[in-house]
């Protein structure tokens, strides 16, 4: 073995080594998309209403309030982004109950106190605190506290309604309709409704974060429960393993010694893909897993092309070494051209696709590049080394 060959062989091992280092430990280095770990992807739009037209300021306030609500929900690594003029993208990875979370962030949460005549006496605008608690019958309640102005308004409202009902409504829906016994002047009150522990907690959270200044509509909501996410991962892995084993066997049976080399290249290719995904901090989605599985098939493509070429050269009675060189040279351009078209399609997918599809575009592109590298570099160097020890007949 000459020096350049040793050097090339060594650099291949260095690349593999780096890929392994990058991807270890796997569960920490690979980010799972919402569709795999469960969670919600929501697009909200602030819409004009006669009373509350949307302006830049309103959207910013909505953004702020939603961020506040999500913080209080305790979601780790949420994404809250403004999109265009009046849309907001919210992503909540790993929430246990995505449905409830989405409902919570999109709610206007306008608290109103209404007299028997249906007139609004005051709103929740002057609340300084809200928390869930229990009354003496251990029913869930929500305790609220007004600031000075609020306390004064609340005092007035309760004074006017002594002996009458002062209904408490949220977004126009009545939560409870207590009869006022005496004026409440300290700005503290409790809301008793048909609360569960959770709904009291949620209401308190909404009141603390404040009401949204404009109406917010949910344009798109994709929520995946954690069970389905786990299901998808295990099914994806199963499909991948079945596909991989079948391909490894196919190559071994059909191409024998060559096949074994292709199998080695395929495994290296997979290691490189995982390493690259970890290194790029890419997010693995379900379509992303599909992209990897697809790459299993495409990765051997280049090897087949090369082997078929080498076989042809051997039929022309060339030496093994010369056939390898000629085979690679002739196959290279074809491999390159054929893969570029797939890359162009992957690029289109990346630019125009939404979250999960972007994941597919990324794994597909990474997969194509890794498979080209393994076929052109790894397979070649392994073949060259093998050619010094074995005859071509031993491989066919």
């Amino acid at each position: 073995m000459n020096w350049t060959k040793t050097l090339r062989l060594a650099s291949v091992f260095v690349v593999i080594f780096i890929a392994i280092i990058l991807s270890f430990p796997l569960n920490e280095k690979i980010n799972l998309g919402l569709d795999l770990q469960g969670g919600s992807h929501v697009i909200l739009e602030c819409v004009d209403t006669p009373n509350a037209p949307v302006d830049n300021d309103a959207v910013n306030r909505v953004l702020e309030i939603i961020r506040n609500r999500i913080d209080q929900l305790g979601v780790s690594e949420p994404v809250i982004q403004r999109q265009g003029t009046n849309r907001i993208l919210v992503q909540l990875p790993g929430v246990e109950d995505p449905e409830a979370a989405v409902e919570l962030i999109g709610k206007t949460a306008l608290l109103e106190f209404k007299s028997e005549e249906g007139e609004t006496q005051l709103t929740g605008a002057h609340l300084i605190n809200a928390k869930s608690s229990f009354d003496q019958f251990s029913r869930s309640i929500v305790l609220i506290e007004f600031d000075k102005i609020g306390a004064k308004e609340f005092g007035e409202a309760t004074k006017k309604s002594v002996g009458k009902v002062l209904a408490i409504t949220l977004d126009g829906k009545e939560i409870s309709a207590p009869v006022v016994q005496e004026p409440i002047l300290d700005g503290k009150a409790q809301i008793t409704g048909k609360f569960t522990v959770d709904s009291a907690k949620h209401l308190a959270l909404l009141l603390r974060s404040g009401a949204l200044p404009v109406k917010v509509e949910i344009l798109e909501n994709r929520s995946i429960g954690p069970t389905l996410g786990r299901d998808s991962i295990s099914k994806g892995i199963k499909a991948g393993i079945v596909g991989l084993i079948l391909i490894l066997l196919f190559m071994l049976i059909y191409y024998k010694g060559f096949g074994l080399i292709a199998d080695f290249a395929l495994v290296v290719c997979m290691v490189l893909i995982v390493g690259a995904l970890a290194g790029l901090k890419a997010t693995l989605t379900l379509p992303g897993i599909a992209g990897m599985i697809l790459t299993i098939g495409m990765a051997v493509d280049a090897n087949i092309l090369i082997f078929e070429r080498i076989k042809e050269e051997l039929r022309l009675e060339k030496t093994f070494r010369a056939s390898i060189d000629a085979g690679f040279n002739k196959a290279f351009r074809t491999i390159f051209d054929a893969n570029v078209t797939t890359l162009i399609a992957a690029l289109a997918l990346f630019y125009f696709g939404s979250g999960p599809i972007k994941g597919f575009a990324v794994t597909l592109s990474v997969g194509i590049l890794a498979s080209m590298f393994t076929a052109i570099v790894v397979t070649k160097i392994v073949l060259e080394v093998v050619a010094t020890k074995f005859s071509s007949r031993a491989l066919l």
Partner: protein
Amino acid sequence: MDLIGKKKFDFIKNRRIVYIISAVIILIGLISIIFQGFNLGIDFAGGTLIQIRFDKSVSTTEVRNVLSEFNLSQSTIQNLSENEFVIRTEKINSEKRKGILSAFRENLTDLEILRVETVGPVIGENLKKLAIYALLFAFIGIVLYITMRFEFKFSIISILALSHDCLIVLGIFSLLQKEITISVIAAVLTIVGYSLNNTIVILDRLRENIKFKTREPFENLINMSINQSLSRTINTALTTVIPVLALYFFGGNILSDFALALFLGMVAGTYSSIFIASPLLLEWNKIFKIRQKGIRITGKKGKK
């Protein structure tokens, strides 16, 4: 082991029959697309999708009965197993959704919500536009690349082959009224990128043969090129289809339509690269009266 390497098939002689077969398949697909259209999933049409798993086995009729109480008897109900269902309805708000789910719990059995997706009409329209742009972008990009690397004639053939493959996939999806989701469009785009793979291999071979075997008539060169790459074409088609089938059978319902679209596209792509793309080159030469001696085919290199 060499199953096909040494046999020679004549792909040129029977090419008219092949054209007719393709034309008929595409025509049936087009008629279906025109008259019954596509079954657009909620990604494009808007609507709500609920995937639930009941604690006990439940029949589709029972599910539909509950839905009809909410005026949703028109919904699509797909049972993945005896207790797992995917329900597609018009766009409903979270309150109505909650009502339906609690009705399921009361009338049938307890359940787990696996997935809820709601897409409004605005987003759907948006995604439709994006899908069309992406397809156009990929088509144009690939044609430009092929023109750059080969010649314009090859890129026209490639477009025909690509359209052939996409139309077959979309036609079958329309015919079977399979749902068109974003994933299916992603699969079609992948096919656009991948189906040319085989065509390029054969065209590359043809280009090489034209260079070295200038005496042969063009028909023979085409046949030779297809035959020379045949075992490679079939083997790579097999190795790509095997993982896709694994995905179809083991990858779960979310990916099954994606895998189906890929599978159909790959079969169509392999078929078209062998039987359609190269023979079409011959037609091109006949139409434009390019002399049948191979020497003229490369154009640039041929003019000595």
